[in-house]
Amino acid sequence: MQSPEMSVPLLEFHQVGFRYPNTTTPVLQDCSFTLEAGQKVALLGLNGSGKSTLFYLAAALYRRDRGEIYWQGQRLLYQPDSLRQWRQRIGLVFQDPEQQLVAATVAEDISYGLYNLDLPTAEVEARLYQTLEDFDLVHLADRPLHHLSLGQKRRVALAGVMALAPTLLLLDEPTIYLDYQQRQQLEQALENIHQQGTTIMIATHDLDFAYGWADWIMVLVNGQVTVSDRACHVFEQWPILAPNLGSPILLDLWHQFPAAWRRNQPLPRTAAALVRIWLKGLQVPPNTD
């Protein structure tokens, strides 16, 4: 039986409005959505639609002008103790790791957030080494951050946030500038993090990544969440729901299939699933190699 707390959303935005100082147009306007625990959410939207601002508000780095933000039903209060707890629960990985990494070396940077939790040095040390191992950073521990590649910096940025064991992880454009291999590593890292019980929300332009990875999709248009639903439902009506965002390549290919092949088939979320349906449509037995 489900306990009553389980039905309370993890994070909730209720008609949140935000405008940057000295500007006339609000970035977010009456923005409302709920986020359930355990989800893998992709927040999609055009440049300037307010994705990063929404993340800054969710992480309580900016203060909303209007509306309310709730964590498990509790209103966000902008008071020091409350903010400290809030920021420990919600980890934010910035788009540019260069802006997020603040210490001199990898180990120092990861330990920085841990000390901010007022943990004793022995525990900081234990959690630091565990994080270094989890993210395959042991060999880079003493390396200065400016000697790392972009992919390594991103891994350190993610590790620094995950060391704090947040309940919700927000990642702003995590796939940008990553090569194929780094993208695969990121996908694996996110899968591991999710399996450990962390809810993940990413803001991205990368529709192909979102299509294959997310189980929940939100679309942000002009500062409002216009779509928030299961990924399979959203992508079934994708061109109608988000006509300006383009389309994932697998979905494009899927729509090129004859209607008879697609009938009673779930949307293929991977290339392998698409090929299986294609082979089935052609009545060719799949290669069992």
Binding site: L61, F94, D96, V102, A107, Y112, N116, A141, P144
Partner: protein, 262 residues
């Protein structure tokens, strides 16, 4: 490219030697330089060079290029130290040993033996003192020095500023380098007038980006729970060396003795 000097600090032969031991040796040598006689200073320079080139295995080209830069600054300031102007009569009355002079309209432009000696002594002292600093710069990573400074109870706010400066100086250099490349790709710096225009645009962009970065760093610090003090764990993988310790004691003792009797 601008990371090279910093990279030597992480890859040299003395990287595992405890930074405190290197820092004490370099600081003691620096202080001794101010007291030592020229012969002993020269011997100290040879000894420090042995540490840098021999033990740390820093390429001699790098080491001598850095020393040449120091020497160039000394050479540029040398005329100001050794060339003097006095009324010719005053100069004659003073009885100074003049190595070279040029008299015109009752004034003499001259180089005295005493000032030249002072200039050369200053040059030697500058080179030895710079070598002491190079020993630290080329063999010890900056974060390790911060670790030593923390143990020596240097105030935290100074360490925080130094760490952030070290972290972002390379980022700023990288941005400047990339912006300059972008400017060159579009024909910047080709004529003198365009050179000034390009430099001013570069400076403006750097300022703008620095301010933007400052805001972002501020957000990053807040998102990771910054509480006013920048505490980090500095894992130590260094060891004091008896062999180097013994060399410092014996070598230092010998130089002090030589300085006393020479």
């Amino acid at each position: 490219m601008h990371h090279h000097l910093d990279a030597y600090a992480y890859t040299n032969g003395l990287r595992h030697l405890h930074p405190e031991q290197k820092l004490i040796f370099a600081t003691a040598s620096l202080l001794f330089t101010f007291l030592a006689r020229p012969l002993v200073q020269s011997l100290l320079w040879l000894w420090l060079s042995l540490w840098i080139l021999g033990y740390a295995r820093i390429p001699w080209r790098v080491y001598f290029t850095l020393l040449a830069t120091v020497a160039a600054f000394w050479l540029v300031s040398l005329p100001g130290l050794v060339v003097q102007i006095l009324p010719t009569e005053t100069l004659r009355a003073s009885g100074q040993v003049v190595l070279s002079d040029l008299s015109l309209m009752g004034w003499s432009l001259f180089v005295s033996a005493e000032k030249l000696h002072q200039g050369l002594a200053l040059g030697l002292r500058t080179m030895v003192a710079s070598t002491c600093l190079l020993l630290i710069l080329l063999t010890t990573p900056f974060p390790s020095l911060l670790g030593v400074a923390e143990r020596w109870r240097v105030p935290h706010f100074i360490l925080d500023i130094l760490m952030l400066m070290y972290r972002y100086i390379f980022t700023l250099l990288e941005i400047a380098f990339t912006l300059q490349l972008a400017q060159r790709a579009r024909g910047g710096y080709q004529r003198r007038s365009r050179w000034f225009c390009s430099v001013s645009l570069l400076a403006a962009q750097l300022l703008r980006q620095s301010l933007y970065r400052y805001e972002q760093v501020n957000l990053a610090l807040l998102s990771r729970g910054f509480q006013g003090q920048f505490r980090v764990l500095r894992p130590q993988s260094y060891a004091y060396s008896q062999r180097y310790g013994l060399e410092i004691v014996i070598g230092g003792g010998a130089l002090i003795l030589l300085n006393a009797i020479a």
